[in-house]
């Protein structure tokens, strides 16, 4: 520890510099985490004092006394989580396309990134009308192929895929950028060496690029899953969880219980279970990463 020499003044200034972050950490992160956990053990309408009920909220969520939570909410959330890797694969393909040395590839990158900077809520507003069964743009395009009108957001069957398409239209640019950064970090010599050995483009992708992309893909799968568990804005704007609760997600459920029904303790318990689900999936992902993520270089 002799290396760490610092003067009193330096340390003092450093603490001044990190003070706002430290206060934020204590007041806006640590305290809410503890306070929220305590709330999840109470029954509280936010007007009368909270009544301590122990694990009752969790029991209600874990046993089958809350059929809506189990039947649809968790299933729907899992749909978005399980479909997320498909989106990542699409984003990787997009990155491969714009990584080719074409004259306009910079322009294409910017175009694909545009949807990413727009508000998810506003995107949902626009897509809501594009998905319209009778006058929508999408059904018109499908009618070219003699496909009869699809009730996208009005049927329990199509609402989830419709939202998934919309979210991936918006998110594709961000994933493309991350994969592109990773692709450009691959030393060109490796590709040259593989070419010398007679490897074609496909072989080079699977044997050179893909192993070196695995850290980036891992990052995307972890953060993507965390995001997919927390789908809210798009659903709130379009279907409000319907039809027949086919798009009700966990965060929508928590929002409704807290801000609409005033069941703050119960909603807090839901938030903690969701956090636990996310944590468990993250741990599983980290556990399995050594099987496929390559940190060799």
């Amino acid at each position: 520890m002799f290396r760490l020499k610092y003067t009193q003044a330096e340390a003092a200034w450093a603490y001044v510099f990190i003070m706002p972050a430290l206060i934020g950490f204590l007041v806006l992160a640590t305290f809410p985490i503890l306070f929220g956990f305590w709330l999840s053990l109470t029954k509280w309408d936010a007007f009368t004092p909270p009544a301590f009920v122990g694990w009752a909220n969790y029991r209600r969520l874990f046993t089958l006394r809350e059929p809506l939570w189990y039947g649809t909410t968790i299933q729907n959330t899992l749909f978005f989580v399980l479909m997320m890797p498909v989106g990542v694969a699409l984003q990787l393909s997009l990155a491969l396309l714009v990584n080719m040395k074409l004259r306009l590839s910079r322009l294409f990158r910017s175009v694909f990134f545009l949807p990413t900077v727009t508000s998810a809520a506003v995107v949902a507003m626009v897509w809501f009308w594009m998905y319209d069964t009778n006058f929508g743009l999408i059904n018109w395009l499908l009618s070219w192929f003699k496909i009869p009108p699809v009730p996208w957001l009005e049927s329990a069957r199509y609402a989830k895929p419709a939202l998934w398409i919309m979210m991936n239209w918006q998110g594709a640019g961000y994933g493309m950028m991350i994969n592109l950064a990773a692709l450009q970090g691959i030393p060109i010599e490796l590709h040259e060496a593989a070419m010398m050995d007679g490897a074609g483009p496909l072989r080079r992708f699977f044997s050179v690029s893909l192993p070196l992309l695995t850290p980036a893909l891992f990052f995307q799968l972890v953060t993507g899953a965390i995001g997919a568990f927390q789908v809210f804005g798009q659903v709130w704007m379009t279907t409000r969880g319907g039809p027949a609760r086919s798009t009700a997600t966990v965060v929508l459920y928590i929002y409704n219980y807290a801000f609409a029904n005033g069941a703050w303790g119960f909603a807090s318990a839901g938030a903690y279970i969701l956090a636990l689900m996310i944590l468990m999936l993250t741990i599983v992902q980290f556990y399995f990463q050594r099987r496929w993520v390559f940190y060799g270089l």
Binding site: G36, L102, E192
Partner: protein
């Protein structure tokens, strides 16, 4: 459209290979062009939708080009909704919170990257650990804190937290501060500069591209935020643009407002698009720099 694919060291130059390459380039460009159309169509639908008459909006097949350009949507938007006010709210909320985020996060990031003090790694890991906690956990307890402070129905809950930094920003900016050469500080110290001056006058100007990128992301996050405003604000004239547009969508659930909705969506989206187009030079390079090597 003519272009070529130069796949790294080309070894064969036979006319056959050249023709094949040109064909490959043509097909690739065609695919990318098709995908670009897919990426842009919703923007086209939104922008033209704001200028369409209701007759055009409820036509099948849809009119990609309005048969009559009408200002009906914009007129009704500004007549019945306080959209100028919402625009001002967005500017104030997003501007202040971006400033607060950059200021507090860059201070902490500078300390973590350039200064030595006891507990440095401990505090850094502590801040980073908050990235692991999903946002939904904070939602209810933070609401209760701001309710206790009587900040509900004011923009304060959307602005003040930014002044207490953000773990992601600290992490990103630390990466950039770390790349600066140590000699600069050493020279400044010999000249008698204290740490705040080194931060403000030497280090901060050197990481401008990172500040622009992060600032843009913070600005976008705040400008595009829906959940925050709908939780903390209840009056239409207090909302930011995104939430006001959402209010149009969800409260006036009727087809007669489709052009009003599209006008509102256009006004909400265009400023962010413009900022992005001006700043994209910085963004792409910073994103690629920060990459995923950390």
């Amino acid at each position: 459209m003519a272009s070529k694919v130069s796949s790294t060291p080309r070894t064969v130059h036979s006319p056959y290979m050249i023709a094949l390459n040109i064909l490959k380039g043509f097909i690739l460009n065609l695919i990318l062009l098709g995908l670009s159309v897919l990426a842009l169509v919703p923007f086209w639908w939104m922008t033209t939708g704001g200028f369409k008459t209701l007759g055009d909006l409820f036509a099948f097949p849809p009119h990609l080009w309005p048969t009559k350009w009408s200002l009906d949507g914009y007129q009704r938007l500004f007549r019945y909704f306080p959209f100028v006010r919402n625009f001002a709210n967005s500017v104030v909320i997003s501007g202040l919170s971006t400033f607060g985020n950059l200021l507090s996060s860059s201070l902490a990031a500078f300390a973590f990257a350039r200064m030595r003090f006891p507990g440095k790694n401990f505090f850094f890991m502590l801040f980073l650990s908050t990235l692991m906690v999903p946002g939904i956990v904070y939602l209810i307890p933070q609401f209760m804190i701001f309710r206790y402070l009587r900040w509900i129905n004011s923009p304060l809950p959307l602005i003040v937290p930014a002044f207490f930094s953000n773990a992601f920003s600290i992490f990103m900016l630390r990466q950039f501060f770390s790349t600066l050469p140590a000699e600069l500080e050493a020279a400044a110290k010999i000249d008698g500069a204290n740490w705040p001056r080194i931060y403000l006058e030497i280090s901060l100007p050197l990481i401008k591209p990172a500040l622009v990128t992060l600032g843009l992301f913070a600005f976008m996050g705040s400008w595009n935020d829906l959940l925050g405003p709908i939780i903390y604000l209840s009056k239409l004239e207090q909302l930011n643009l995104t939430a006001a547009a959402a209010y149009l969508r969800t409260s006036y659930h009727s087809g007669e407002n489709q052009n009003v909705e599209m006008a509102a969506a256009t006004i909400t989206v265009v400023p962010v698009l413009l900022v992005f187009i001006f700043a994209q030079r910085y963004i792409v390079s910073s994103l690629i720099f920060s990459g995923l090597k950390g």
